[in-house]
Symmetry: C2
Subunit: 308 residues, 2 copies
């Protein structure tokens, strides 16, 4: 008998990861949304419940709704879906809030339809949710949310997603200062050209980071977590950014950077206890500044969206 | 008893490798120079023989001489060295002719002195030869010549070389059309800035290529051999370039590009027989055009400079 309803965990994700602007992402394990998706006879997609965040429930204004509609448009399924969304990831946090909802919805629907679609097709559907959220159908959050681990968007045309292994002891610490930075705004301030010299440094670091992940060389991962292009510009929007960068290295982190388009700041560490120390260091900075914050410590999620 | 003389093989190298401009390189196995290096009591470095190419023998005008002097300057060795150079790699071919001599000289000297220097230090010494040859102390040829396999120059300041494994069945075919393109000239025509969009494509491909090498995913290696930045400009200097690119793919190559700053063109293939078919296809193009050429088919050299 086929399943009529499924409850899923939809992981938060860190995109860009310093040197991998617009191409790299990684899924987290300890923070994510929950969704219940249900097959119904009525066509279309309806959001029947939305808890935890103040987001639109109309299908075409909700990222899960839009991603689901895109899946339905490519399916011969005659019925529809109801979605209940329990947001744990704050919208605008920079850890893939919209991607979690988009990815979770299409992954759950695919399960209920007995997997007619590949993971790559699901990424394409979920990207429509991202288009709604930010104006750009980017894949650097939805790809790791669906595939798990680290993912590289090698190319958009055609879409080519490369999975990258995560060293077993690699942990992420993320702090979300409670200020608003919209993805669309933080894209606008970026330059449209870069110097060749800067580009060479950036792809050198990106190559180093990917090699470090394959080699499980934590030092190399740390040395490669450098962003010469986006961080110098976007970090201006994040109070306390430079202090956090200094504090996390002192606490033992391999390196750090802006999570997605911010304002969250991530750090990577070898081992859970170092990641916890890094969390303490991050908290200290925002306690001093007097900005509210939320901190997550997580190992890398290697499965992506999963059934609960 | 310590050795007084050593004969070494100094591999040719392909730098850039499409998407890895200024950072990636790979060592070849079937083409390289030979050198004999000898300890002598007289201080300094002397080139006592130079066969195969018309190159200067004065120490400070010869890349091996300059690299050797740099090593001596960092050594407490009281004597000097004589070098015999048997060039098999044509100068100006774009497959690391100067790097082979520079790398071979310092590697051989380090052996004779019983290895006081690390491979990374040898790279630094050999880079001085590259500075003489092209005006820029780049490492993307000398690093693979010394380490073997694929190497990534993650950073110059500080110098950080990352070794990347070579899949066992990966073969290179290189054709050297007998026209002159100077490294210094082919650097001058490059743009000093690139669009962010192009940069993102480039580091996506570089990430894909490195992941493909680690995963031994030949298809991914092939898809990643794309250069949006340098190839469109430099290829104008190479007659027959577009025809060669088409012909090698038809012959089964994974992909192709400009070797170093040209004029040589490389292709990578899975398996020796495909690499041989690619050589036939490359020859066909230059037979038609009526330009003399030299073709090399080689597996990846995983050792770098070695004793003969």
């Amino acid at each position: 008998m086929t399943k009529e309803e499924i409850k899923v965990f939809c992981p938060a994700t860190i995109a860009n990861i310093s040197c991998g602007f617009d191409v790299l992402g990684v899924a987290l394990d300890s923070v994510g949304d929950e969704m219940i998706v249900r097959k119904v006879s009525e066509k279309g997609v309806r959001i029947t419940k939305l808890e935890g965040q103040d987001l639109p429930m109309e299908t075409l204004k909700n990222v899960a709704g839009v991603a689901g509609i895109e899946l339905l448009a490519n399916s011969d399924y005659e019925g529809g879906f109801e979605i209940e969304i329990y947001k744990k990831i704050k919208a605008g946090s920079g850890i893939g809030s919209s991607a979690a909802s988009s990815a979770g919805a299409v992954w759950a629907m695919n399960e209920l339809l007995e997997k007619p679609f590949s993971q790559l097709q699901l990424v394409k559907f979920a990207m429509e949710g991202e288009r709604l959220a930010s104006g750009v159908a980017h894949a650097d959050n939805v790809a790791p949310a669906l595939f798990g681990g680290f993912t590289l968007v090698r190319s958009y045309d055609p879409l080519d997603i490369v999975t990258i292994p995560a060293p077993i002891a690699l942990y992420a610490t993320v702090i979300h200062p409670q200020i608003e930075v919209k993805t669309s705004d933080s894209r606008k301030i970026l330059k449209t050209s870069i110097t060749m010299e800067t580009g060479i440094k950036q792809w050198g670091n990106l190559g180093g980071l990917i090699a470090g992940l394959f080699k499980e060389d934590y030092e190399l991962i740390g040395r490669s977590l450098v962003d010469h292009i986006v961080e110098p510009i976007r970090s201006i929007l994040i109070p306390g950014f430079d202090e956090v960068k200094k504090a996390v290295v002192q606490a033992g982190a391999l390196g750090s950077g802006i999570s997605g388009s911010g304002p969250s700041i991530f750090a990577l560490s070898e081992g859970a206890s170092t990641a916890q120390n890094v969390a303490v260091a991050m908290r200290g900075v925002y306690e001093n500044i007097g900005i509210d914050y939320e901190v997550h410590v997580s190992k890398v999620n290697v499965d992506g969206v999963r059934e609960l």
